[in-house]
């Protein structure tokens, strides 16, 4: 058995200043955005060694929680109250993605929650809890429509997980017109009080 040790991803750092630029102006300078993101190994780029283990981290950090509290209502087009349960489930969901995807997600969230990189790659100047509806909508639309595949992938990662956690939960079945389980299954043993 080869040595098993803990993985630690290199900290994400921004390499350029964006002061004086509007978000859109900055993001349109894709070459510059490339220079920032190319140095960030968030798509399967975390360096480490054979079959190493990452420790469990089922809780979001405060910064990560603020990020999702800000974005989930915009992604889902629902009130903050309706969106909060998704945020409550998000930490455990990310933790169970497996080490590869989890380290990617951690990288992405580190970039979006560290102020200089938040401004640089998301174009959001205020902290997430202070960002306006317009800031957040523009961020999502910019990443969705960007010509940089890396940003599209980040957009898909954020929206897919948020949307699946919302619509997959029985409390929200009515939001998709899904009537729920067929009645017939209630006769199956796994739905009885004490399975036979």
């Amino acid at each position: 058995m080869k040595a098993i040790s803990m993985v630690s991803c290199p900290p994400a750092t921004a390499t350029s200043s964006t002061s004086g630029l509007s978000r859109r102006t900055f993001l349109k300078r894709t070459a510059m955005a490339s220079a920032v993101t190319a140095s960030v190994p968030w798509i399967h780029g975390c360096a480490s060694r054979p079959m190493e283990a990452m420790p469990a981290q089922p809780d979001l950090s405060d910064d990560q929680r603020q990020l999702f509290l800000a974005l989930a209502p915009v992604i889902l087009h629902r009130s903050p109250e309706e969106s909060e349960p998704v945020v409550d489930r998000m930490g455990l969901a990310i933790d169970s993605l497996g080490d590869l995807n989890r380290s990617q997600f951690d990288e992405l969230l580190a970039l979006l929650t560290f102020a200089p990189t938040r401004v640089a790659i998301a174009g959001v100047w205020p902290a997430w809890e202070d960002a306006s509806q317009k800031d957040k909508e523009e961020f999502l639309e910019d990443w969705r429509s960007s010509s940089l595949g890396l940003l599209n992938a980040g957009y898909i990662g954020l929206t897919k997980l948020t949307a699946a956690l919302h619509y997959g939960h029985p409390e929200n079945f009515e939001h998709s017109g899904y009537p729920g389980l067929p009645v017939a299954v209630q006769s199956l043993p796994q739905f009885q009080e004490s399975p036979v």
Partner: protein, 530 residues
């Protein structure tokens, strides 16, 4: 009867099953044959080898989940029955990969489509890769054997409304439309095959071959991820496993060493090459992990005038090969058209939308049909497939380059699917593409699809079939294993799963794996007992 769970019965009868995350798990296990993986390949091999009187140990990375756990909960299924909680992707995240991870592997969560390997595919393997005894006449008895064992027959009931869209639209256009053969027995036609069959109607490895092997004295080690094979003098001397817990975390403090006379890799076309690469298995021509195929999938959604309820009913029952071999084996990229089920979380995840757009589309879910195209990759010099590589932390990823040959097939598929959906009466059609809008007519769709930019991350791409990476053939300069799955350089190692396919299949691959592994495992059983 279908309500009698074979796993529950087996547990009560004292099957020998160990969970490597538990305190009482063994640190050393031995068997005649050690099989890594319990999906279509591993399950079939276990059944056949144990029936021949050999002691068999199956090793599974996921947990043992069965009827008592199958409560039709989509998010539970993603977390417990799918690799990486259904978040697996290619290296650049451009293609989402659905792959199983529990006892039964992908057969526990597949949609039951069971096709024999198409004749043009078998011929191509024989001609281009020199695979022996692979023509239809040689393979027919093996497919028949597995069809009998797994109750495979074309779906005789009416297709659900979602599949009817492909049937009706295709017939309008004069396409050859057929019913999909399914591996089910007394199916309730519920629609939850992807969450673990709640009635045990699906004849997956979980309720057929694995119970056979266990009843014959087999042994099962679950939640055990194989870290490496121990190679000594051209032989496998053992292998090491590390516990992988329910939350997908490796537990390095829990390990097990396993020894056998013969070893079989059936860990799927990502897992099997990855184990060989991690073990630094002899590979003088650098072939391991190369020629990895995905059947890349693109899909359209359509809003129909009447409810489709795409979450209910047998998920896949209708297909057409109208475009699969149209341009011959080696011409333009061919594709098979089928229909996917859409449950809420899956639908929300594949749309690639947010805000009002997401909310409005999800509110219309009962009216949404989807048609998908499964691309037949690997038959053309411009379709060399991808490569399984190891990250520095030992985890495998698939690097799958996308090129114009693929994009030409994607555009053609978007067009054919849209025409079919409008022919079936769709009010609007939308390719799953980040630049697509809603198209209200076939003529509008035709013009717009011609202009859609086709590139990674704009096109929503999926794969449910990972194949290749341990190509079979007789020439060790071009293949990793021989025609019967034996490794060219390690004489007590076989590979028995979809990773031996020299190309993709051109159809959902489970029966191709069952048939080929039944043949190869029978041959191996004769050699080991002879």
């Amino acid at each position: 009867m279908s309500l009698q769970d074979p796993i529950e019965k087996g547990l009560m009868s004292g099957w020998r099953i160990d969970d490597l995350t538990r305190d009482d798990a063994p640190a050393l296990l031995e068997a005649d044959v050690v099989i890594v993986g319990t999906g279509a390949g591993g399950g079939t091999a276990a059944e056949i080898l144990s029936r021949a009187g050999l002691s068999v140990l199956m090793i599974e990375e996921g947990g043992l989940h069965h009827q008592k756990d199958f409560k039709l909960d989509e998010l539970w299924a993603f977390g417990n029955l799918y690799q990486e909680a259904n978040s697996r992707t290619t290296a650049d995240a451009a293609i989402s990969i659905l792959q199983g991870k529990s006892v039964g592997g992908s057969t526990t969560i597949n949609w039951t489509s069971s096709f024999r390997t198409p004749e043009p595919t078998l011929n191509y393997w024989k001609q281009q890769f020199g695979v022996l005894d692979i023509d239809s006449a040689n393979m027919a008895p093996w497919f028949q054997d597995r069809e009998n064992r797994l109750n495979i027959a074309p779906w005789a009931a009416e297709p659900n409304a979602n599949n009817s869209v492909l049937q009706n639209g295709g017939r309008q256009l004069g396409w050859n439309i057929k019913a999909i053969p399914r591996n089910v027995k007394a199916c309730w036609n519920l629609g939850y095959c992807g969450f673990g069959c709640p009635t045990n109607a699906k004849q997956s490895m979980l309720v057929t071959s694995i119970p056979d092997a266990m009843n014959a004295g087999g042994r099962l080690l679950t939640r055990a991820s194989v870290s490496q094979l121990l190679i000594e003098q051209g032989q496998i001397a053992g292998l090491d496993c590390v516990a992988l817990d329910a939350g997908n975390h490796l537990r390095p403090s829990r390990q097990c060493r396993v020894k056998g006379r013969h070893y079989i890799l059936s860990a799927g076309a990502i897992g099997s090459p990855a184990i060989l690469l991690r073990s630094e298995a002899p590979d003088p021509y650098g072939l391991t992990g190369k020629r990895t195929f995905l059947h890349p999938v693109v899909a359209n959604i359509a809003e129909m005038p009447e409810k489709v309820d795409p979450f209910y009913g047998a998920p896949q029952s209708i297909y057409t090969d109208e475009f699969n071999w149209r341009d011959g084996n080696e011409g333009k990229l061919g594709f098979k058209l089928e229909v996917p089920p859409l449950h809420p979380a899956m639908a929300a995840g594949v749309l690639g939308m947010h805000g009002e757009d997401l909310r409005q589309n999800m509110e219309r879910l009962p009216y949404i049909n989807s048609v998908l195209a499964l691309m037949r990759d690997g038959f053309h010099e411009e379709s060399p497939g991808g490569e399984v590589k190891l990250k520095d932390n030992g985890r495998p990823v698939v690097d799958y380059p996308l090129n114009d040959y693929l994009w030409d097939g994607v555009r053609e598929a978007y067009l054919q699917m849209a025409e079919c959906q409008f022919a079936a009466g769709a009010k609007r059609v939308r390719p799953l593409h980040l630049d697509s809008g809603d198209y209200r007519s076939w003529s509008e769709a035709r013009e717009a699809i011609r202009d859609l930019p086709l590139k990674a991350h704009r096109v929503r791409l999926f794969s449910a079939h990972v194949m290749g990476g341990c190509t079979m053939g007789e020439n060790s300069r071009t293949s990793v294993v021989n025609s019967f799955g034996r490794h060219h350089h390690l004489n007590n190692l076989s590979v028995m799963d979809g990773s031996v396919f020299p190309t993709s299949i051109g159809a959902n691959p489970q029966l191709s794996i069952y048939g080929l592994v039944a043949r190869n495992a029978s041959r191996l059983a004769a050699e080991l007992t002879g």
